[in-house]
């Protein structure tokens, strides 16, 4: 080991911009994800709604092709806010599955291996660490939600012409905002669970429990107390409420219940729904802040 005889020169060259350094973290996570054939296969499956929707939009905009295919109904399918609303709802379910699959493995290995001190004894903060990790999910989930949806939106605008694009810009806004909101909530939740639950399967299970078991409890609460506040712990419901508002479509409420004048047909106030989501994100950040500490041992 004669190398120490070299001249010792601290690095004095130019440095990369601070804000770009968090992008170092996702590189290997993404490489590992794309190494998994199963996961790549599932990502491809996630693009099926996009392909089906693209086909529908194409058919909708081409009566001649429809005639050729023997689809001669007057109203084929309306490509409007409702179409994109239901498409996003479906894609968000797939996004949830991907997050429950990948998310729990993002932070816990670093904590198990005590890797945090190594990241943080560099000009690299905990915020940047979280940004680096969450960007993995943002990238993947964007690929199967708002990016293909915006492409579909542009395809429809191209086929429709006549100012459709300008007239329907709120749909594009709803696609991007609604997707990013959902991605933020489920990604933060996945990271928080990954930071606190070492066992990956347990973290995934807990994620399902938070969304579906809590929703069940909420419904039971509503049924017993004949109220609608149980929806507060039903994150899917809360998210749907916000999406419905963003896309300008009514919430889907069962006709039977409405006829019975059931209080459960009443929706949560929209502002309250936003507060619930902000609260969930806040709790996740607090959990991450508490768990992601630089110190490796106490004394």
């Amino acid at each position: 080991m004669a190398v120490y005889k070299r001249n010792y020169k601290p690095y004095s060259g130019e440095l990369t911009a601070n804000w770009t350094r968090f992008l170092i973290l996702p590189r290997y996570s993404l490489a590992k994800i794309f190494d998994s054939k199963l996961l790549v296969g599932f990502l491809v499956v996630c693009l099926i709604p996009f392909l089906v929707s693209a086909t529908l939009i194409y058919l909708s905009g081409n009566p001649a092709v429809r005639t050729l295919l023997g689809m001669q109904g007057a109203n084929f399918i309306g490509i409007n806010n409702t179409f994109f609303y239901y498409l996003l709802r479906f894609q968000s379910s797939l996004a949830f599955l991907i997050t429950a699959w990948i998310g729990p493995g993002l932070v816990s290995p670093d904590l198990t291996n005590n890797a945090l001190p190594l990241y943080l004894c560099r000009p690299f903060s905990r915020t940047e660490y979280v940004l680096g990790k969450i960007s993995v999910l943002f990238f993947l989930l964007s690929l199967i939600t708002w990016i293909p949806d915006i492409f579909l939106f542009l395809l429809q605008a191209e086929l429709e012409g006549n100012g459709w694009l300008i007239a329907n810009l709120p749909i594009a806004r709803a696609i991007v905002l609604g997707s990013l909101l959902w991605i933020t909530v489920i990604s933060l939740l996945a990271l928080a669970l990954s930071a606190w639950v070492k066992w990956r399967i347990a973290a995934s299970g807990l994620m399902f429990a938070i969304f579906f078991v809590a929703a069940g409890f909420g419904e039971a609460f509503n049924a017993v107390l004949r109220t609608y506040w149980g929806h507060t712990i039903n994150l899917v419901y809360v998210m749907n409420l916000i999406w419905a508002d963003l896309f300008g479509v009514p919430m889907n409420i069962s006709i039977n219940r409405r006829m019975m004048d059931d209080p459960r047909t009443m929706t949560l106030p929209l502002g309250f729904a936003w507060l619930v989501l902000i609260g969930v994100c806040g709790v996740c950040l607090l959990l991450l802040n508490r768990r992601l500490q630089a110190k490796e041992v106490i004394r």
């Binding site: 190398v3 601290p10 690095y11 890797a115 004894c121 000009p123 110190k295």
Partner: protein, 317 residues
């Protein structure tokens, strides 16, 4: 204008508590260039001190500056500090080369510079051959060396190494110690922690002994060894005539202090030579001048710590 302390690592009245748990307490230290060893048993506060030094945690009280910098200025601070942690701190699935390369990119080096320095540091620790294997497949010694490589890869001025010799085979140990020593001679502040003093004393310019969060001795290795050797041992004696015993004890040069208990049925003596103390006590009893009810070392814990730290058989004291 540069201050003298801008070339030192300075702890000024530093205390760190984790809630109610004491990490380190009232630490006053100045660490200059060269190799400095932090020695102490598990839980003595070595890692806390190192975490403070590397800006990973903040003192509850006092301040800690490294070459005049604190982690409040992360860009400059982390550029001068290199940290080799104690545990297997590896992100999953990386090769040794990727691990070092990534760490350099986090420092803000561009891809080309990072590649050059990755190779250089791997060469320094003799890990070029295994550089492209997954860290998970490395032996404990190889993991230790690749951790060391990442800590020196950005050419820090302060190198903090937590238990760097753990798990190394004799050859790798000798090579690592030669590297630390050389880096110290080049003017780096190399701070090494260890459980055992003799493990690091050959390369240390300064030694700091820690126990239960306190610095119990510091200085050059010979001074610390003398201090440890001469550390007075406390012995409690319950007897019929503590006044007479105290008078006889004070005639001995190895007795530092003798304090008679409030109930006047015993005393607490501090001696630098326990063997001579026990011989004297034996003689007094044989002469029948007093009756002994009980004799017990009062600070066995501290002594056991010292014995543990000095520890090795055949080590020169």
């Amino acid at each position: 204008m540069a201050h003298a302390t801008d070339r030192l690592i300075v702890f000024e009245n530093v205390s760190k508590f984790y809630g109610d748990v004491l990490g380190v307490n009232r630490i006053n230290l100045t660490i200059g260039p060269g190799v400095t060893s932090l020695v102490g048993p598990n839980g003595s506060g070595k890692t806390t001190l190192m975490n403070l030094m590397t800006g990973l945690i903040w003192p509850t009280k006092g301040y800690c500056r490294v070459l005049g910098l604190t982690a409040h200025d992360p860009e400059r601070f982390f550029r001068v500090v290199g940290y080799c942690t104690q545990f297997d701190s590896f992100a999953k699935g990386l090769t040794g080369r990727e691990f070092i390369y990534d760490s350099l990119r986090l420092y803000g080096l561009n891809a080309q510079e990072a590649t050059v320095r990755t190779n250089e540091s791997l060469e320094r620790v003799n890990m070029m051959d295994a550089a492209d294997r997954k860290v998970a497949a490395y032996s404990k010694g190889m993991r230790q060396r690749v951790r060391l490589a990442q800590s020196i890869s950005h050419h820090p001025k302060v190198l903090v190494l937590d238990e760097p010799l753990n798990g190394l085979d004799p050859m790798a140990r000798a090579e690592s110690m030669a590297l630390f020593s050389a880096l110290g001679k080049e003017g780096l502040h190399v701070v090494i922690s260890s459980h055992i003093l003799h493990e690091v004393d050959r390369i240390s310019d300064q030694v700091i002994l820690l126990n239960s969060g306190y610095v119990v001795a510091e200085g050059q290795i010979h001074g610390v060894r003398d201090e440890v050797k001469e550390h007075p041992m406390q012995i409690m004696v319950r007897c019929s005539n503590p006044g007479l015993l105290a008078a006889k004890l004070f005639a001995q040069d190895h007795i530092v202090e003798a304090k008679i208990h409030d109930d006047r049925k015993g005393l607490l003596a501090r001696t630098r030579d326990a063997d001579r103390f026990y011989s004297l006590l034996h003689q007094i009893v044989l002469e029948g001048e007093l009756e002994i009810d009980a004799v017990a070392p009062a600070d066995d814990d501290v002594n056991s710590v010292y014995r543990y730290l000095i520890g090795s058989e055949g080590a020169t004291v």
